[in-house]
C-alpha cells in the first residue's frame, strides 16, 4: 500500500506538469501565463521531495515552458520562455539548497535530544542499580524522587515512600538532629551533612542507616537535596564478619594449643557473628552421631536450620570436628556468612593440625630435654672441633664444676685424657674419628679435688646431610666399679696366695708327717729290736741292763716327741693359754742353771745378770721351758770343759736374755733353719746328739707368744749365742726393786 502511495506521490508532480502542459497547449496560451503554475509545482516539490527529485521536476517544467513556443513557432515567445525556464531552474536549485540546510539543522537537534534521553536513562538505571538508597528531596525534606533500594531499605514501595518526608521517617531520638540539619541546609549554612541515624520502616521497625544529605543548586524551582541512605545493618554485618574472621585468625595465631585457641575462636564467632552459643565438637570426643552436628560430620558440609548452624572443621579434606553456632532468634545464614564459616572451618582445621604437630614436637622436645636434664648419666654435647657446647646437670654435679669451668678447663682435660687412653688401647683419638658406642675410661679431677674414673661413650650426631654436626658423650662415674674390680683383683690375688700357702701348708704337713713317722720309727727300731732280743732270752745280765737302758731312752724320746708335738700344735693353733704374771727373769735364769747342772757336769755355767732388771710380764713355767731348752742345747753341743753363759739386761722396753756357749757352732747354711721343725744340726760332732728336733721351734713359739723375738749368732768352732727378748711389765721396775729391797 505504502509502496503504491509512494509511487503515486512520486508520479504526481510529473502528472501535474503534464496536465499544465496539455492545458497550455490546448489553450495555446503563452508561457508567461502557464509559468506561475509550473513555478507552483516546482516549489511544492522542492519543499517536500528530495533534492534530485525537485531538480528533475524543475528541469521538466523548464523544458515544458520552452518546448511549446518551439513547437508552435512563436519565436517571439521563445526568448521569454527561455528566461522563464531559467527562473524555474534557479528557483528549484535555491529551494533544494534551502531545504538541505533546514534538514541538517533538524537532524542535529534530533541527535542532541536522543543523546539526552539516553543519558537520562543510564543515570536512572544507575541510580536504581546502586546498593545504596538514593533520593531527591525538597529543601524541606519532601521526597521528589527515590530509588528502589532506598524504598526497600526503608520498608516501603516507591509510591509509599514518596508520600513521606525525610524527617517523617526519622525515629524520635534522631528527629531533632535531622531537623536541625535540614534547617541548616535550607539556609545554605552547610552544603552537606551526614550522620548515622535510625529510620523507621512502615511497620515501625527501626533501621540503622548512614544518612547523607547534600544541597544541590536548582535552576528555576530552587535548590533541592540529594539524600543518600546506606544500610548500616548490612555494613555492620559485613564489618562484623570481617572482624569476626580477623578475631578467629588472631586467636589461631596467638595461641599455641588447641585447648587455649578454641575458646577464643568460639567466642569470636559467637560475639562478632551474633550467635548466642558456640560449641566445638572434636571428632574423637563426644561428637554426636545424630542431629545437625552428626550430619555435618557425615557430609562434611555446612548445615543449618532456623536456630542452629554447624560447619565442619576440615584438615586435608577430612572432618576433624564441627563447630556449632546456635541462636535464640530464628535466622538463616546468608551466603557470605556461609562462605566465611567454611573458610574459618578450613583455617581452624589447619591450625589444629599445626598445633597438634607443634605440641607433639614440643612434647618430644620436652621429653628429650627432660632426659637430658634429669638423666643420672652425665651428657656432654661436643662440637665437631671438640669444644664443649653443653653439659647436663648430672655431669656438672658429677665433676663438681659450673658450666663455664667445665667448658674452659675440665672438658679439655678430659679430652686429653681420652686421647691418651685411646692411644693406649690403639683407638682413634676423639676428633680423629668417633667409633660409636666404644667406651674409654679416663681419670678426671672434680672441682673438689677428688679423682674419679669416668667411662666416656661417644656417639656422633650427623646433620641431615650426614656430616658430623656434633658429638654426644655419655659420661658415667665408674669409680666405684673400678675400685670394686680393683679390690676384687686384689682379693683374687690374696686368694691365690692363700691357696698357694694352703698348698705349701699341705706339702709341709705331708713332709711333717713323713718326718714325724721317720722319727718315731727310728726310735721304735731300738725299742722293738732290743725288746725282741730280751724276749728271745739267752742274754747276759749286763746285756739285759744295757738293752733295757736303750729301750728306756728311746721310749722316753718317743714320749718327749709326742709332748713336744702336742705343745707345738697347741701353740700354733692358739689353744695354749698363757698364765701371764709378773716374773723375775733373773730368777728364771738361775733356776734353769740349777736344773741343768746335775746332768751337765762337763761344762761350766756362768751368769751375768743385770740386778736392776725390771719385772717382766710372762708365764713363768713357759719361760723356764725356753731357758732350759736353750741351756740343754748349749750343753749338748758343748765339748767337755765348755762354758755356758746366761746373761740378762734391759734393752728399751724389753728384757734381753742370752744363752751363750763355747760349743761347736752352727754351720752358715744351717743357721737360717735352726728354728724349723726337726732341723737338727747333725753334721760333724753334732751327729750323735739326740733331740726331738722340735725344741727350738717350741722356744721360738713361746717367745713370740710373749711378744718377744729370738735370734741366734753362731760360728762353727766358736760356739753359739741365742738371744731373746721379753717385754717388761708396765710397772715392773718398781715391783722388782721392792722385792730386791
Amino acid at each position: 500500500m505504502s509502496w503504491t502511495r509512494h509511487l503515486v506521490r512520486r508520479a504526481l508532480p510529473f502528472a501535474a506538469l503534464a496536465a499544465i502542459f496539455a492545458i497550455q497547449a490546448l489553450a495555446d496560451a503563452q508561457s508567461v501565463v502557464a509559468f506561475p503554475l509550473y513555478l507552483a509545482v516546482v516549489l511544492v516539490v522542492a519543499l517536500q521531495q528530495n533534492r534530485g527529485e525537485s531538480l528533475a521536476v524543475a528541469v521538466i517544467a523548464a523544458m515544458a515552458v520552452v518546448l511549446l513556443p518551439l513547437a508552435t513557432g512563436h519565436t517571439s515567445e521563445l526568448l521569454p520562455a527561455v528566461l522563464l525556464a531559467a527562473v524555474l531552474l534557479a528557483v528549484a536549485a535555491t529551494m533544494a539548497e534551502l531545504t538541505r540546510h533546514m534538514r541538517d539543522a533538524a537532524s542535529a537537534e534530533q541527535r542532541r535530544l536522543d543523546g539526552l534521553v539516553a543519558s537520562e536513562r543510564r543515570l536512572r538505571a544507575m541510580v536504581e542499580a546502586v546498593d545504596v538508597g538514593l533520593g531527591l528531596a525538597e529543601l524541606d525534606g519532601t521526597w521528589i524522587q527515590v530509588n528502589e533500594p532506598l524504598a526497600a531499605l526503608l520498608g516501603r514501595t516507591r509510591d509509599e515512600l514518596l508520600r513521606t518526608t525525610v524527617l517523617g521517617l526519622t525515629s524520635d531520638e534522631d528527629r531533632s538532629s535531622v531537623e536541625g540539619a535540614l534547617a541548616l541546609l535550607r539556609a545554605g549554612d552547610i552544603t552537606h551533612w551526614s550522620a548515622d541515624v535510625e529510620q523507621l520502616k512502615l511497620d515501625g521497625q527501626p533501621v540503622p542507616v548512614a544518612l547523607f544529605m547534600a544541597r544541590i543548586p536548582g535552576a528555576s524551582a530552587g535548590a533541592s537535596l540529594v539524600v543518600q541512605a546506606t544500610d548500616l545493618a548490612a555494613r555492620r554485618r559485613a564489618d562484623a564478619m570481617r572482624d569476626g574472621i580477623a578475631a578467629v585468625r588472631q586467636a589461631l595465631i596467638t595461641s599455641a594449643a588447641v585447648g587455649t585457641a578454641m575458646p577464643e575462636v568460639l567466642e569470636a564467632l559467637r560475639n562478632y557473628l551474633g550467635w548466642s552459643r558456640a560449641r566445638y565438637w572434636a571428632r574423637d570426643a563426644e561428637m554426636p552421631a545424630e542431629g545437625l552436628v552428626g550430619r555435618v560430620v557425615q557430609s562434611g558440609v555446612l548445615a543449618a536450620d532456623r536456630f542452629t548452624v554447624a560447619f565442619p572443621v576440615v584438615d586435608s579434606g577430612e572432618v576433624v570436628g564441627v563447630i556449632e553456632l546456635a541462636s535464640d532468634q530464628p535466622r538463616t545464614p546468608l551466603d557470605d556468612e556461609v562462605t566465611l564459616l567454611a573458610t574459618a572451618g578450613v583455617e581452624i582445621g589447619q591450625f589444629i593440625r599445626r598445633a597438634e604437630t607443634a605440641q607433639a614436637l614440643r612434647r618430644s622436645e620436652a621429653d628429650h630435654r627432660a632426659i637430658y636434664e634429669r638423666s643420672p648419666i652425665g651428657i656432654a654435647r661436643i662440637s665437631a672441633d671438640g669444644e664443649l657446647l653443653e653439659a647436663n646437670p648430672a655431669l656438672l654435679h658429677m665433676l663438681d664444676h659450673d658450666q663455664e669451668t667445665m667448658r674452659a678447663s675440665a672438658w679439655p682435660d678430659i679430652l686429653h685424657a681420652y686421647d691418651q687412653a685411646a692411644a693406649r688401647s690403639r683407638k682413634a683419638s676423639f676428633l680423629a674419628g668417633i667409633t660409636d658406642g666404644s667406651s674409654v675410661q679416663v681419670r678426671a679431677a672434680t672441682g673438689a679435688g677428688n679423682w674419679l674414673w669416668l667411662q666416656l661413650t661417644a656417639t656422633s650426631i650427623p646433620d641431615p646431610r650426614g656430616r658430623l654436626e656434633h658429638v654426644l658423650v655419655l659420661v658415667e662415674d665408674v669409680t666405684a666399679v673400678r675400685e670394686t674390680s680393683d679390690r676384687l683383683a686384689e682379693s683374687l690375688e690374696a686368694q691365690r696366695e692363700a691357696n698357694a700357702n694352703l698348698e705349701k701348708l699341705d706339702r709341709t704337713k705331708s713332709e711333717f708327717l713323713s718326718i714325724v713317722s721317720h722319727e718315731f720309727r727310728t726310735a721304735l727300731t731300738g725299742i722293738q729290736g732290743f725288746s725282741e732280743l730280751i724276749r728271745d732270752g739267752g742274754l747276759e745280765a749286763d746285756e739285759l741292763r744295757a738293752y733295757g737302758g736303750y729301750i728306756f731312752n728311746d721310749a722316753d724320746r718317743v714320749n718327749r716327741l709326742i709332748g713336744d708335738m702336742l705343745d707345738l700344735d697347741r701353740m700354733e693353733s692358739g689353744r695354749m693359754t698363757m698364765r701371764t704374771a709378773d716374773v723375775d727373769i733373773n730368777e728364771v735364769l738361775a733356776e734353769a742353771i740349777s736344773r741343768a747342772v746335775p746332768s751337765a757336769v762337763t761344762v761350766e755355767f756362768k751368769s751375768d745378770f743385770d740386778p736392776r732388771l725390771p719385772i717382766v710380764a710372762g708365764d713363768r713355767d713357759r719361760l723356764i721351758q725356753v731357758v732350759s731348752n736353750l741351756v740343754n742345747n748349749a750343753v749338748k753341743y758343748s765339748p767337755e770343759g765348755g762354758t755356758v753363759t746366761l746373761s740378762s739386761r734391759v734393752e728399751g722396753r724389753f728384757a734381753l736374755l742370752s744363752v751363750t756357749d763355747t760349743g761347736i757352732g752352727i754351720p752358715q747354711d744351717e743357721i737360717g733353719h735352726v728354728f724349723e721343725r726337726f732341723r737338727r744340726v747333725r753334721s760333724g760332732a753334732a751327729q750323735s746328739i739326740p733331740g726331738t728336733g722340735l725344741g727350738l721351734t717350741i722356744v721360738k713359739q713361746i717367745v713370740e707368744m710373749h711378744g718377744g723375738k729370738i735370734w741366734v749368732e753362731s760360728a762353727v768352732g766358736h760356739g753359739s749365742s741365742f738371744h731373746f727378748t721379753i717385754p717388761l711389765a708396765p710397772e715392773g721396775a718398781g715391783a722388782l726393786q721392792l722385792r730386791h729391797g
Partner: protein, 133 residues
C-alpha cells in the same frame, strides 16, 4: 756262691752297717754278729763310702737319713766303684713310695725300720749266704 764258699773251712762274711743312730748300730751289730757275720760300722755317708771301698764288705746295710751325704748318695758312689756290691737300704722312711724310690736308686733290697730281727738276718743271708759258724 755259697757252694763255692762252702769249700773253705773257715769263712768270714763281713757286713757294713751304715747308720747314724747308735742304738740302731748296736742292735744290728749284736744281731748280725750273733748270726755269725763280721760287722763294720759307719756313722755317716762319707764313712760308709770310705769303709766300703777300703774293706769291701760282702754287703752293706745302709740307713738313708744321715749327716753329710745321705745313704742314697753314699750308695750311688759305692755302686759307681763297685757295681756288684749288694746294698740293702734300711730306713725309717717306710712309705710305699719310699720303697720304690730306693729300689729305683739302685738298692738291692729294702728293709723297713723298725724290723723283725729274723727279717734282718733273712735279708742279709739272701744276699750273702749263711756264714759258717
Amino acid at each position: 756262691m755259697a757252694d763255692a764258699n762252702g769249700a773253705a773251712p773257715t769263712r768270714t762274711i763281713t757286713v757294713l752297717v751304715a747308720d747314724d743312730n747308735e742304738v740302731a748300730q748296736r742292735l744290728c751289730k749284736r744281731v748280725l754278729e750273733k748270726a755269725g757275720y763280721a760287722v763294720l760300722i759307719a756313722a755317716d755317708g762319707l764313712q760308709a763310702v770310705d769303709i766300703a771301698l777300703a774293706q769291701r764288705p760282702a754287703m752293706i746295710l745302709m740307713d738313708v737319713a744321715m749327716p753329710g751325704i745321705d745313704g742314697l748318695e753314699a750308695m750311688r758312689r759305692i755302686k759307681a766303684e763297685i757295681p756288684g756290691m749288694p746294698i740293702v737300704i734300711a730306713s725309717a722312711h717306710s712309705m710305699a713310695s719310699d720303697r720304690e724310690r730306693f729300689l729305683a736308686a739302685g738298692a738291692d733290697n729294702v728293709l723297713s725300720k723298725p724290723f723283725r730281727l729274723a727279717d734282718l738276718i733273712a735279708i742279709v743271708q739272701s744276699l750273702t749266704g749263711a756264714p759258717t759258724v
